[in-house]
Amino acid sequence: MSNNIPSDLKYTKSHEWVRQAQGGALEVGITDHAQSALGDLVFVEVPDVGRALKEGEACAVVESVKAASDVYSPLAGKVVANNSALSSKPELLNEDPYGAGWLFRLETSAPLDAASFMSASAYETFLAEEAK
C-alpha cells in the first residue's frame, strides 16, 4: 500500500502531521496512512479554541465506521483555530488529510525544529517497520 507523505511536514509516531502555518502557529492533522487505516470517517471531534493542551494530551477524536481513535497534541500550546467544517463533512479528512482535513492550529512557544518529530523519510521508514 502506498502512502502520501509530503516532504515539507513533520510527523509523530502516533500518525499526526505538523505544519508551520502562517503567523507562527502550528497546524496539526492525521496522516494519509492513518485515515486510510481507519477507513471512512463518520465523526471528527476537534478541540475548542482557547483550550490549553499539554504535549501528548488526547485532544481530538477521529471515528470511522470501523473504530474510534484519539489524536494527541504534538506539543504543549493553546488552540487558536479548529476545523469546524469536519463536524458536518468528516469525509474531508479521508479526501484531503493534509489540506481540507486539517484538525486544529496550536500556538506554542516551542520551536518546531527543536521537537523530536520525524521527517517524511523517517516516517516512511517508521511505517515500513510498523507493517512488519
Binding site: G39, D40, V42, F43, E45, E63, V65, K66, A67, A68, E91, N94
Partner: protein, 367 residues
Amino acid sequence: MGLKTPLYDTHVQQGAKIVDFGGWDMPLHYGSQIEEHHAVRRDAGMFDVSHMCIVDLTGGRVRDFLRLLLANDVGRLKTPGKALYSCMLLPNGGVIDDLIVYYLSDTWYRMVVNAGTRDKDLAWIRRHAADFDVAVVERKELAMIAVQGPNARRKAALLLMPEQQAAVLELKPFFGAAFGSWFVARTGYTGEDGFEIMIPAAEAADAWNRLRQQGVAPAGLGARDTLRLEAGMNLYGNDMDENYHPLESGLAWTVAFEPTDRDFLGREALQRAQREAGRELVGLILEDRGVLRSHQKILVGGATTAGLSGEVTSGTFSPTLNRSIALARVPKTSQPTVQVDIRGKLHAARIVKPPFVRHGKPLIDIS
C-alpha cells in the same frame, strides 16, 4: 495466508483492501465502504460470499431429519425451491448457527451455513444425520455471489439466456431455482431485494466481471455489515452464539413451537426459557454523536431493572440514517431509553424495534 475464495484474485485486481475474516482473506472494501453501502441501497452492489458453506442433504428421510435438527419447521415448505431461515440449536437452546435451508425435492434439501462455524456445523449435522441415513455433502466446488439492491435482479438477469430471464425475474421472495449451472435464490442479507447466486467456481470471476459491466458495484464485508445491521439482521458470533438461545436473540419468530408434537433439538430448553423474564435483543439508536460498538456496556433504568446492565452486541454508524445504531441484549423490562458507556462517558440511546432501514427507506423516526 488465509483461505481464498475463487474470486480472491479478482478482488485484488479491483483494488480491494483484504482482511482476515474467520480465517478467510476477504475484501473489506474497494475504496469507500460508505459508497458501497449507498450503491446497494440505491442501485445494485455485489458481495463475494463464497466463503459460506453450502451443504446438500439427501435421503429418503431427510425431511424427518431436518425437522429434528432445526428450530424452524421444514414441514412448512410445500413448494420446491422455497427457503426457510432457521437456527440450529444445542439441547440447552444455545445457538450453534443460523442458516438458510432450501427445499429442492422430497429427498434433497440444501443448506447454507456460516463460514466461521463450518467445521462444528458439519460435525453436528453428520452426527445426527447418521440415524436417518442422510448423506451430507459439502459443495466446495460452488462459489456464491450476492447481488443486492433495487436494480440488482434486473441487472443480474441480463447474464442469463434470454429464455431464462423472464423466469428468474418471476422468482418470488425466498425462492430459489436452477438456471443451467447456476442456482439463483431471491434471498439476501441487506434488507434490499436481490439474488444470491450459487455458481461453479470456474465461472465465478467471469460472472463477477459481467455483473460489473452491468453497473453492479463490488462491495466488501464492511458495507455488508452496515447493511445487515440497518436491516436488523443478526450476525452469528456477535448477536447470538452457543451462550444464548433464540428467544433472547431476537429470533423467537424463527422457532416453530407448533405443531407441538414435533420434537426438535433445543425444544425443551426453549419452552422453559419462555416462562422466564430473561433478556431480549433490541435495536438502539444513539441520541448523541458517537458510534455504538459491540461489547459497550448498557445501563438500564426503571424500578425493576435499575442497576442491571446490558451489552451492545453489534454497533455501527448507519450511512442511511446518518446516526449510530446497534443491536443490544438488555433485561426484558427495560425503559424506553438507556445509557451506553462509550469510551468512559455515558450517552443516551433509545430502544427501537428493528429493522432500521428496509428497501432503501428509513423506518425509524430520527427527528
